[in-house]
Every structure is written in structure tokens, then in C-alpha cells.
Symmetry: C2
Amino acid sequence: MSKHLHLNAFLMSVGHHEAAWRLPESDPHAHTDIDYYVKLAQTAERGKLDSIFFADSPVLMGDPGRRPSGKLEPTVILTAVAVQTSRIGLIATASTSYNDPYNLARRFASVDWVSNGRAGWNIVTTAGADAARNFGLDDTPDHRVRYEKAAEFVDVATKLWDSWDDDAIVADKELGIHADAAKVRKILHRGEHFRVDGPLNLPRSPQGYPLLVQAGSSEDGKEFAARYAEAVFTAQQTLEDAKDFYTDLKARTIAAGRDPESIKILPGIVPIIGDTEEHARELDAELARLISPEYARKQLAERFKLPIDELDLDSELPADLPTEDDIEGAKSRFTLIVNLARRERLTLRELIARLGGGRGHRTFAGTAVQVADAIEDWFRQGAADGFNIMPAVLPSGLDRFVDEVVPILQERGLFRTEYTETTLRGHYGLARPANQFDEADALVAAR
Amino acid sequence: MSKHLHLNAFLMSVGHHEAAWRLPESDPHAHTDIDYYVKLAQTAERGKLDSIFFADSPVLMGDPGRRPSGKLEPTVILTAVAVQTSRIGLIATASTSYNDPYNLARRFASVDWVSNGRAGWNIVTTAGADAARNFGLDDTPDHRVRYEKAAEFVDVATKLWDSWDDDAIVADKELGIHADAAKVRKILHRGEHFRVDGPLNLPRSPQGYPLLVQAGSSEDGKEFAARYAEAVFTAQQTLEDAKDFYTDLKARTIAAGRDPESIKILPGIVPIIGDTEEHARELDAELARLISPEYARKQLAERFKLPIDELDLDSELPADLPTEDDIEGAKSRFTLIVNLARRERLTLRELIARLGGGRGHRTFAGTAVQVADAIEDWFRQGAADGFNIMPAVLPSGLDRFVDEVVPILQERGLFRTEYTETTLRGHYGLARPANQFDEADALVAAR
Ligand SMILES: Cc1cc2nc3c(=O)[nH]c(=O)nc-3n(C[C@H](O)[C@H](O)[C@H](O)COP(=O)(O)O)c2cc1C
Ligand SMILES: Cc1cc2nc3c(=O)[nH]c(=O)nc-3n(C[C@H](O)[C@H](O)[C@H](O)COP(=O)(O)O)c2cc1C
């Protein structure tokens, strides 16, 4: 455990709470307003956070009536943010199931150039038949196949990012030689899912390549993370579960031949901050009252593979539910939700209220000091290298976190008071990756 | 012919001339420097130009020794430019052969949102086996098939862009209804090349959708343009060819059931501006001297499908060359180059010098007044609705054009002195497209 914890701001239009848009303060058009996102990013930078992050899926999620739906493509948002900030790291989600490695590798390398080394890629395999049907498929590929393809995708991408040596450009005007062609190479990848010749049409970027982030917590997901991820987002409801996950993933990372410090584990927390604990609880309750439960009921029925009329709002979940093995979508989230409902004996209506804030992430309502305590506790107990901060309401929830919680963490010596690095990897205390094809680099890496 | 002509700045790192990077003034790292591109865009905006444009291909083009190669992905560049300019139109190239319609439609809609209605898409089919080999193919699909796929791609994209009515968002906080679900629809496209369900995960953008631009001049290319394009880039060496092309394409547009004013034809011009005509010619000659002809010789041999030793630098082209029918790559450019060489009886070395500036586009060396005359002449003679300005050397060539040529065109009443519109379509005098699925819109369009 390093001395400092890491903080990522997970940004979602007017906040993570599904009813946040109904509050008087919320702008229901924020989700298509780039200035709005730039201001959020500038707030996060003011708080010296490590990074901001946008989730994504190439499909319209849920009913467009329920909440602001549809959003700007995240690498577009991050590019606009990049040129209007100077330090904050910039992480965008993109799917390995519905992109071509060549195009995506180039796009992230471009964002890394534009941001001067602040790009990160949250690698997802994209669950759900609806997304598949936007790409010529009838249904989502099997979970295992999606992760196999994801692994090959990342292999192709890193080869493309390494297809130029860092010192390939010689720019010799006298001789008329711009780049040393021997330092720019085809990758000639021939795999199960992809055939890609390369080289990439972009020189190696400031970070070498974007920070690799991952967020799957199933068996396949954890194996993938152990092999590739440098930062991991995860939803954990209890300290015990979070510690188990942390210990397990660090062990898997060692087993994969990597330094456990080279992977940073960031559970999510949905802070609802009030001047008093009571005030915070009132805000939480007000948000819960604004949820229209029918939308969520329909979605849970789909998740549990049940006819909707078998889910009664005022009863506990039926005894007979599928198991994680039956799920081809988001496996670990399924289990988390079932466990939460059973453990706390929640009615469907109560479960919906609990999921309304963070869709399964831990919601924590309290004062700034209590939020800081909750963060410090998990950090010191070995459940986290840092946190994925998911404000229930934006922009106010991020403002309060930055203005009230961050100073407490700084006073306690848990969080940086100034940026000491310029790149996203730098903020997370990670090294710039060596170039797998560059002999000089390889020598350094071997030492 | 409208009273005003239109001007697009075609930007390419340190300029269109392949040897531009060897000049003392050129920054050989400009191609990965976003601030450099933002400054160019701001210069174009200072000149009240209609738009800037970036070419693109998902492949490393040519030998990386020859000139700065590899570039930032154009929608990334344009996003960074969008938030640092307010009026200039922003056109990026993207391939219909190597993208998914869902992802690309969303990305361009995002840029249209971020720029407040200034996005344009140069639709290309991407010639060349090298590009194909970055996407799992052995060779480029046939020219005809590429254009068929392009047509279906654009059909899918426009359906996705129209999948939200303009007034779909009701944002009723009281009732808890964000969008009227009846105004957000699946497109359920089932075609030869694509199956896409939709809807797009982004509300309809300020322009409805990006300006559709096209740049193929073959038979297939012209048919495609007549059906879809709102602006057309074209390489024309002589006034006669340009007039023929203009007349032909306007006639085809009418035959496709469209208003000929709804398509703007913009031939390219590579202006080399000097204080005197002699000074301009000297600059042109200096650039020609800096070309390393072996790179171009190799590339021409590939274009002509000849062994390289059949191309002698100091002889005219061999008599026995393939015809346009034999070419599956860029058909019209092949013909233009052969015709140019034969008409002017150029040796290979001379041809290479002529192509060094604009790869087949018309190069014009002269004073600012002569450049303005050249532009006015073609415009008045019915060869152009405007021009694609391709500075040989950047940034100086664009500075000179904006500071010296634009004021002359303005004085002559040929070019705007202030922006009167805020969107890219507005600048080109084109209407915002109706939504094909919106009944109210359809009624307006039918009138
Ligand atoms: C904080 C967090 C953010 C996530 N963001 C995305 C996302 O943007 N897009 C996506 O498809 N999945 C996202 N996921 C889901 C995971 O990538 C993964 O698909 C899901 O947890 C199921 O993975 P599993 O089946 O390996 O458990 C996210 C998960 C977490 C914990
Ligand atoms: C000004 C101009 C810009 C072009 N930009 C691109 C480009 O960025 N990418 C590309 O693949 N082709 C580009 N092209 C080529 C055309 O899209 C087209 O592929 C080429 O002219 C051959 O088309 P044809 O076979 O229909 O003649 C451009 C052409 C012109 C005239």
C-alpha cells in the first residue's frame, strides 16, 4: 500500500443517481453540452484528482424516458477536455467487441498526443443483445469468447502502439529523411480474431500508450485484469468483499508475473454529502422518492431472466433465480445485486432505491468527515489503492467532494496537495511502458 | 452560381508540398502537435473561410522517411479545434470501408454537438491493399463494391442521425419523463452490407447531421456524389476539365432529383504566393529541388502497375500503360496524372515535380492578385462554386492566403467579409436537412 491514495472522478451527465436530473438544480440538457463536461473536469483538476472517467456502450441504454440517455462519444469529450486542462488524467471506455483495433489504437494514441500523455482506456467487452444488434449480430457473443477477443484486441493494440520506436523520427532536413524506416515496423498480427499488418499511422505517443483500465469482476474479468490492467474499477458493497477482491486480484497479478504495485484497485463509492448526517440522509431519501420504479423493475426482470409479473415491488426477490453461470451479460454485477438483496432482505422497491444511486456501487450518505473516514478506513484496511468517486448529483456532488472531502484527505496526508507528475501513469505511480520491439528499451526493461 | 464563392482550407501538417518539411521554417514535429493545428484553424477563421478539412486513411501512407507521416485522427483534431474556435466549419475524412456505421455516425454527431453545428464528413471508400490489410482483408474490395457499401453506409448513418426527433427531449421533471420514447425509434436496417437496429445513443445534433462531403471523381464516385454529397472536392488541372466536371456533376445531381444548388463543387488549388511572380516561381523551384524523386518513382510504378525499372526519370511515361478500367484504386486520379504527363510531354522527373505540390491538384505560383484572378476566373466561368485551398507550405502559405488573397476577393465582392451564419451548412448556403422519420418535418420538406 503506497502512502497516497488515488482518486478518479467517474462522471455521468447530471450525476449517477438515476433521478438526479429531476432535481431543480439539474440541467436536463447537460449530457450534450461540452462546456458542462469541461467545467466538471476543471473542478476535478482543482481537487488534484488523478483522473476523470466516462463509461460507455455503443447502444442506447434503457428507456429514454427514464433519465438523460444518449451521450457524446467519450474520446470526443476527453479531447475537448484535454485542451482545456493541463494535468488531470482522462479515461474513456471503449469496447473490444465492437471496434477495430487499428482505429481504436489510433484514436487513443491521438488523445494521448493531444493531452500530452494523459489518456487512459477502460477496456470493456460490452454485454447485451441490444448492443450486438447495432453491429450486425443477433446476440451478444459468449462471455468467455468476449474476453478472449478482448485479450487479442489488447495484444494487437499494444503491438500497434509499439510499431514506432520512440526515437524513430530523425527529421534530417539536409538528407531529406523524416523518420528512420527501420524503426517503424509492420506488426503482421495473425490471430484467432484479428489480422492486422500495421504499422500504426501515428508515432509512439507521450505515454507510449494509454493507461490500461479494466472493470470486470467475474472470473474471466479478473484473469484479464491480472494480465493487462494497470487500474481496475470495481463495485463492492462491503469491506469484507472489497478486501477479498483486493487480495485475490493482487495475488492473480503476481501469478501473472507482474508486480502487484503495477495494478491499482479502485472500488466505487457514491458519496452523498450533507452538512450533517441527517441532511445527507434527507438528500438520499429525496432522490429515492424521485425514482420511477417501473423502469428499474423492467430492467431487473431482464437481468434475472424473469417475466416482469414475477417481480412484486413490495416483496423480496423470488427464491428461484438463475446463478452467475447462467448469465452471459455482466456476471459479477448480477451476483452483487442478488447478494445485496438477500443479505439485507430488501423488498424489490428497497432494492431499486439502493441501486438508484450507483447501480450496485456502495452508496455512502454522510458529512464530509464521514466520507473521508469511509475512504480512509477501506484504504488502510487493504481494500483499495484508491477510489472511484461517483457523485450522485452533478455538478454539486463533485464540488462538495473537491471542496470539502479532498482537503480532509490532504490534511491527513492521504492525498497529494499538488500534482507532482504530468502524465496519467505518473499520477498513479506507474512506469511508462517499454517498447516490446525496441531492443534498447527491452534491455532497460530486463534489468 | 451564387454571388459568393466558398473557401475550404485543406490542411496537411507542414503543407501539401511533399518537401515542405525540409524548409528551414518548418517544424518537423508539427504533425503531432495539436496547438499547431488549432492555430491554423484560427487563421482560417480569421480569414472567414467556410471550413477546414483533413484528409485521412487508416494506414501509414508511403515511406515514413519521405515526409512527416502518421497523423492524429482527424475527428480528434477537429474536436480540439471546435472548442477553441466559434465559426469555422470542421470537415474530417472517414472511410466507409473500414468503420462501423453505428460508431462513426455517433462520433460525427458528437463533433456536431461539440462544435455547435460545424461538423462535416468527407466520405471516402479508401483505396489500397495496405489499408485493407489493417482490417483483416488481403486486398482492397472492388471499386464498385466499395461504392455500393458506401451508399448503404450513408443510408444507415442518416437513419441513425434521424432516429431521434428534434423535439424528442421533453425533460418533464414533474412527471419524471426525460424523452418522449415515441420520438426515439429503432431503425431496424437490414441491407446487403449492414444490419443495424438503432436508435443512435445520442439526440439529433444541431445540424441534424454533419455536412456530407465527397471527393471521388470516377463514374461511381460522381454517381455517389450526385446522390448524397453536399460539397465535392475535386482535382482538376485545366479550366476545360473543371468546367466539364462541374457541368456533368450538376446535371447528374438534377437527374438524381436534387436541386443543383444543393451541391457545392470545390476544385483544389495549391497556391504558391510570392511578392512578385518571379519570387513565387523561385519558391516553387526551391521546393521541387528538395524532392527526393526515388520515393515518388516507386509510388508511381505501383500506381501504373509497372516494374520500377521501366520508369526512367529522364524519359516520358511508357506508351503502354493500363487504362482507368484496370484500376481498382483511385481511378480518376490515375487518369488525371496520365493525361497531365501526356499533354505536357513531361519526363518522369518533371511529372514528379508537378505532383510534389498537390499530388495532382492544380498548382498555381504567382502574386496574391494573380491567385485571386485565377480563383475569380474559374468561378465566373462556371468551373467552381468555390475552392479547396491547399497551401504548399504551412503555416506561412495559409497566412499569406488569408492576409493577402482573401482581402482582394472581399474587395471584389466575391467573398464574405463577416460570417453571417453559425453552422457549416449555413456557411455553404445549404438548408438543415429534414428528419426522414419526423412527420411534421416531412410535411415541411414536401412543401
Ligand atoms: C466502475 C465500473 C464502470 C464500468 N463501466 C463500463 C462501461 O463503461 N461500459 C461497459 O460496457 N461496462 C462497464 N462496466 C462493466 C464491466 O466492464 C463489466 O462488463 C461488468 O462488470 C461485467 O463484467 P464481468 O462479467 O466480468 O463481471 C463497468 C464496471 C464498473 C465496476
Ligand atoms: C481533395 C481531395 C481529398 C481527398 N481526400 C481523401 C482522403 O482523405 N482519403 C481518401 O481515402 N481519399 C481521399 N481522396 C480520394 C477520393 O476520395 C477518391 O478515393 C479518389 O479520388 C478516387 O476516387 P475515384 O476512384 O472515385 O476517382 C481525396 C480526393 C480529393 C480530390
